[in-house]
Symmetry: C4
Subunit: 287 residues, 4 copies
């Protein structure tokens, strides 16, 4: 139990920080789910294709018009299938970072496969952009001690965990924390019968605005995560524009990329934790 | 990755388009689900019968009073069991189009069965209305390359996919895109314990209005899809009337049928895509 | 397909009707679910006991203060275990009607068991109140041709089906229709992990008010159904009081019991339907 | 069937009571679920760690600034793993009470194991705080006759059941009732794909405020239950602060701990019930 927050300071006298992050999944989670053989049907393919056809460009235009640089997490296969994606983002000044090669879910792969996917993604990004990416976000936001050790070995920051409102350090890796509450997929993703109906952008916009305001009052980080084919729709972009216009105009808020936040983190006294699992109940002393 | 939207122009100087479409399913999805033998219970039958008894007539009255022509997608069996349905819609100036014969779900049937259902529906429509229908919408909005090839062969437009905000062309077929977000069933359908409780027409009406406004601002197509027995209820019609009154009064908006939009599409430079499935992960080159 | 609504007239120049109905289930659905042997745990028992301890009395007090007589559907076992329930309701001027003996679900019992439960309930009601009940509502709102034949034989009206906005006649039985949309359980019932979280009384109150207004505008029947242990909570009663105060004050609205509506129905030209199941797909002529 | 509420009086002329209760679960439900062996993944561990790292301290700061003493229910293992937790809460004037040792779910353990967990927790609390706790809340709010007998033997009040709006007595044990409707977990808990998306603090805050107002009007008890790692987030604390500021300022409301309410209960004529299960349907006399 920690009774006091870390004495964190944001740069340039800002009171809080905000980051617009995009998980550019496109069809990669579906490719992974159907990795043995693709079904012969087109509805999901067309639905997800929306991001690369229209959604992501609309999102980037919105950010550019607000002067906000976003952090775009791109699975290797999405960069491979869309070779103008990474160069186009970098040319517009945005940050690109790693998100698995095939959006591999952690529970489906071995430690060695994780490492291979990470290194293969690093190589692809360097080839396509001429620069080595500096950060990583785990597909579906799962994490293991092995993954953290690899991120540490490769000197990558991470943005996948929820253990604080402020950046922290886990296993020596800088963690820029995320929140399910500030993720678009859990509210808006709908792929057919059986899924939960999407929530209104009006409701979620009001909720995220409230969340951002509370984080600013509290001096924390407001990290938003959206997806190309989900939030690239016109009504959601209209909602996002309203929120981020206000954040960009707010002198209390440092709107920054994950990479900028990670670089700043090195100057702060922050929470440091070990990636240790609690002992299981059955391993504890009985009375 | 496409960085620019197609240079689409709507007719008569309109900035955007809107289409009121109705999937007149009546009891056909339940008939299909229970196609081997009908259960001996009446609750679902009576619930769904509401559309043909009252809901659809109220919906048509609403459209007629606003001077809006809708696009009604009718499974063959619904036309067969309700012989005054297609003639009554046509007499009132509305468009009727195909929606399977028994609302057959794509995953339940062979390619040959799809073709048979399509041709049988075409014949029934011609017999009942004296005209050949020009368009098709897939039950549950699934699609296959075979289906697109058949639609192309029969010179039918389609309205089942979600790959863009604007009409596009897929496998040579004109696609008038739909959206789950603008479908009434996912928000309002409730058939008994286990289903998700219906959302408020107040909330969904505000959401659809916001969606329509964003599409208009963006120059796209606002396609709404409702069902006879779901949105024919008085409170939902009251909500729909408010939205569509405003759309009908808005000089920026071209309120049109799918068929009118498909005819206009032939004059535009638009996105053209092939109905190709991405390669499966396991079929890609390993490193 | 019916293109015109029946020429229904409400009495005394009223434009529409409204009925406050209560399914006084108490613990009976749980007793039925666990009919072989009760689990040894108390949480659900205590939760459902709320209705007989406090909720129903608060609901009756609210109705009495508004001068509204409600229709209370009571399973036999609830009347048996709470012998002051039926006499207390009748003494306050409310209508009591049948709702199964053990809240038997239609799919769990034979035709003969349905008849036995119905007759046993009739006897119990006569014993406890001195009067024969005139109407029935099916547990979980399921129905069969046999049930309708039995209701017809015993000269009971029914209130379980959703085939119209107006009372209608099915198999010779007067049907006072219900709606899932106007049922409290689907929005508010929550019995533990795995259930859907309850909706806000603020939201549902606004939705029901909107629904009632639309039904009044349309000249139909606004039938609300609530449960003793669900809507007897203070915040829900506060919400219900606001809606029903306005309905009671509205000269356009005839606030009546199911029995009064059923009696009026005999004077009207209304929809009459047979309790016939549609032919199954596989029983229809192939092409 | 009880037609009248008990003649309950709150102290000092207050019209109603309100209690801010916290189930300090931290990672204990996950430890219990995975009691055989902990999975090797970190996402849930980090997510739940938020409470002990930041959430609970923010919550306590909020209560302290409003001058409200809360009732904190702490599983033994959480106190064991966070030795400054109980002393810190007691030092700030809050009440601490029992909540199982490993957050054992009632259905997973024997009567003897319940007793052992209860006594082991009592000992731990005495060791860490120097005082014997006076009350208990069951993990997941389940209850059995054995548990009530043990609470009675050890002279502990309980706060786990939903049988009334007012405190009552069951099996000789004072019951300070809870409500699912006023629990944060069912609205806000989200741990990954498959869970229901969290509701907005704006919506739930308005709902709880409405609930509190209705309970006050009715003279009952408004019991709120929150969790360290769920409602410790900034936006939820902002919402809670607004509600509880108003409750603290309202002269009609007695803001009290469970222990204070239990002590007051001894002075009142209240509902007394036996912890008796109803007879099963199959054990009842057939006709």
């Amino acid at each position: 139990m920690i009774w006091e927050a870390p004495p964190y300071r944001w740069p340039h006298g800002h009171r809080a920080a905000a980051c617009f992050s995009v998980d550019v999944d496109a069809n990669s989670p579906y490719l992974w789910e159907q990795r043995a053989q693709m079904p012969g049907t087109l509805a999901r393919i067309e639905h997800r294709a929306y991001g690369m056809r229209r959604g992501l460009a609309r999102m980037v235009d919105m950010l550019d018009s607000l002067g906000i640089r976003g952090s775009f997490f791109v699975p290797g296969v999405v960069a491979e299938d869309n070779p103008s994606l990474l160069p186009g983002l970098v040319a517009r000044g945005h940050e690109v970072a790693l998100h698995g090669y095939f959006h591999e879910l952690v529970g489906d792969i071995t430690d060695a496969q994780f490492t291979e996917a990470l290194e293969r993604s690093l190589d692809l990004f360097e080839t396509q952009t001429g620069e080595r990416p500096r950060g990583f976000r785990s597909p579906a936001w799962e994490m293991t001690p092995h993954m953290l050790a690899e991120l540490h070995r490769l000197n990558l920051w991470d943005s996948s965990l929820m253990g604080h409102d402020l950046p922290y350090t886990i296993g020596g890796v800088t963690e820029i924390p995320v929140r399910w509450d500030n993720d678009d997929a859990i509210f808006f993703k709908f792929l057919g019968a059986g899924d939960r109906p999407p929530r209104s952008p009006l409701e979620i916009g009001a909720t995220w605005r409230h969340e951002a305001e509370a984080q600013i009052d509290d001096g924390g980080l407001f990290m938003l995560t959206v997806h190309d084919w989900i939030s690239g729709r016109a009504a959601r972009i209209a909602m996002l524009r309203e929120i981020w216009q206000d954040l960009a105009d707010n002198p209390d808020v440092w709107v920054a990329t994950c990479g900028e936040i990670a670089a700043h983190h090195a100057t702060q006294t922050a929470l440091e934790v070990a990636p240790t699992l609690p002992r299981a109940v059955n391993e504890r002393d009985s009375r």
